[in-house]
């Protein structure tokens, strides 16, 4: 999965599931869109569907620090790499 595809999928999920439209990739989602811990957990469910594998508890805990779309995409790339 290329970086561009990951970005497109995340932007699509944020728009359809979280009503976040046209965000900047380095914008703090919590500050700008009130994206909270409940949303973060919900987003991880979509990430699991996206990568086709469940996330471990440790992987989920690490995701709680993410704030921007670029950070989310970095995280997904690392998870995919580790699961190979």
């Amino acid at each position: 999965m290329t970086r561009d595809i990951i970005v497109d999928r995340i932007l699509s999920i944020l728009k359809e599931e979280f009503e976040i439209e046209n965000p900047d990739l380095d914008e703090n989602l919590t500050d700008t869109y009130e994206f909270d811990s409940i949303d973060a957990i919900a987003l991880l469910e979509h990430v699991e569907d996206m990568i086709g594998a469940p996330l471990t508890q440790e992987e989920k805990k690490r995701a709680m620090e993410l704030r921007t779309i670029n950070q989310i995409c970095d995280y997904i790339e690392r998870v995919i790499k580790n699961k190979k």
Binding site: F18, E19, E34, I38, D39, I41, A42, E45, E48, P54
Partner: protein, 412 residues
């Protein structure tokens, strides 16, 4: 210190309408909101004996931003909508709501059963992987206090939270405990009420207890039949009701319009069986309520009876009313119009009482055509009666042996 507690706004979502105009028209013209059971759940619907339900089958134009909606199950949609309406009608601003002097007393019988079923289905997924699909918000939607805390979150309320969960006395406890919170100076205002959503599991519970109406499946508008000789059980319903209770001087200072005054409340337990109605418990609760309200039985103009149309419950209530009130007050039961809206019934019935005070008319018990002789000793309301109503007492009784009596007085 005892302070006066007034009602400054009301809102209801019921099987006979949303808002006073529609509800009142349907009460006066004796329209039933009981219809054939929704058949969306094949498994349960196939095996249920009762196929009637008090359904909210109209669209409600919710306008909740996603950040709030994401933690709302169906029951909290109802709850937040009626809370929003009472806040708007009472004209209470955000600063007051967030002052710490405004609280919420709101409940439901058990959170959102629809969401709970989703959780159980996930847990019992034969692949044993379903539990990972329990949504991040499922607990927030289904927990027992989901209605109360979603209201606090949506409207920035920072005062006390009371989340009664006593089945059919949930709303009357909410109002009663809200009343006490203000009366004794702990809060200046409380948003009080309850909500329950449509779900077949609730029907199944009562169906299995042989408590549901089954003889009128083809004529749902003819059931339930409180106090009637042909009554054959209760009809489950859904809906929500909310009241804004406020300390009188606080309301006056804000320039709020006062609708009525809450003058008394009592709650007791039968101290025994968890299901069977108990006349002594009901009588005691009536006496405690009258004492709390500092009035005599003869001061009460109307009793809004719990009257679920079960065989035993109606008899016990009628006998208890006769014992404590004689034949003085009119007696009406409103579940013929809306079914038994479970946790919400006490709030909805209190709101019906407010409407009757405002309109100067007593609404009769729907489907009461011939009183069961064992229930016939009280002053049943058989037709719409024009009357200036001063004091109404609202009765509610719940599984677990819980009894409440609430007293509301017209504001003059």
């Amino acid at each position: 210190m005892e302070r006066r507690v007034v009602i400054t706004a009301e809102a209801a979502i019921t099987p006979i309408g949303h808002g006073k105009k529609e509800i009142w028209n349907n009460l006066v013209t004796r329209v039933s909101g009981v219809k054939n059971l929704k058949n969306r759940d094949e498994l349960l619907a196939k095996y249920l004996h009762s196929r009637v339900f008090g359904i909210v089958d109209y669209e409600i134009a919710y306008d909740f931003p996603r950040k709030f909606a994401k933690t709302l199950g169906p029951v909290s949609y109802y709850a937040c909508q009626v809370a929003k309406e009472v806040i708007d009608r009472a004209g209470m601003d955000r600063e007051t709501l967030s002052s710490g002097r405004v609280g919420v007393a709101f409940g439901s019988i058990h959170g959102s059963p629809t969401v709970q079923r989703h959780i159980y289905e996930a847990f019992f997924d034969p692949s044993h992987t379903g539990y990972t699909k329990i949504n991040a918000t499922d607990y927030l939607k289904s927990m027992v206090h989901t209605t109360a805390v979603n209201i606090t979150r949506m409207f920035g309320i920072t005062g006390r939270v009371i989340s009664s969960c006593t089945a059919c006395t949930t709303a009357s406890q909410s109002i009663g405990y809200g009343y006490e919170s203000i009366k004794y100076g702990l809060q200046d205002a409380m948003i009080c009420g309850a909500a329950d959503e449509y779900d077949l599991t609730t029907v199944a519970v009562f169906d299995n207890l042989l408590a549901c109406s089954t003889a009128f499946n083809d004529t749902p508008h003819l059931t339930p039949r409180p106090f009637d000789v042909r009554r054959d059980g209760l009809v489950i319903g859904e809906g929500a009701g909310a009241l804004m209770l406020e300390e009188y001087e606080h309301a006056k200072k804000r320039g709020a319009q006062v609708i009525a005054e809450v003058i008394g409340f009592a709650c007791s337990n039968n101290g025994g069986d968890l299901i069977l109605p108990n006349a002594e418990g009901v009588k005691r609760t009536i006496r405690m309520g009258l004492e709390n309200a500092r009035i005599n039985p003869g001061d009460v103009d109307l009793i809004s009876a719990h009257a679920t149309a079960t065989k035993m419950g109606d008899i016990v209530e009628a006998q208890a009313i006769h014992s404590e009130y004689g034949t003085g007050p009119y007696v009406s039961g409103f579940k013929g119009y809306i079914g038994h809206t479970m946790s919400a019934c006490g709030a909805i019935e209190a709101i019906f009482a407010l409407y009757m005070m405002q309109e100067g008319a007593i609404i009769p018990t729907l489907n009461l055509e011939e009183a069961d002789p064992r229930c016939g000793m009280v002053n049943h309301t058989m037709q719409v009666r024009e009357k200036d109503i001063n004091i109404v007492s609202i009765h509610n009784f719940a599984f677990g042996g819980v009894n409440t009596s609430l007293f509301i007085k017209k504001w003059r």
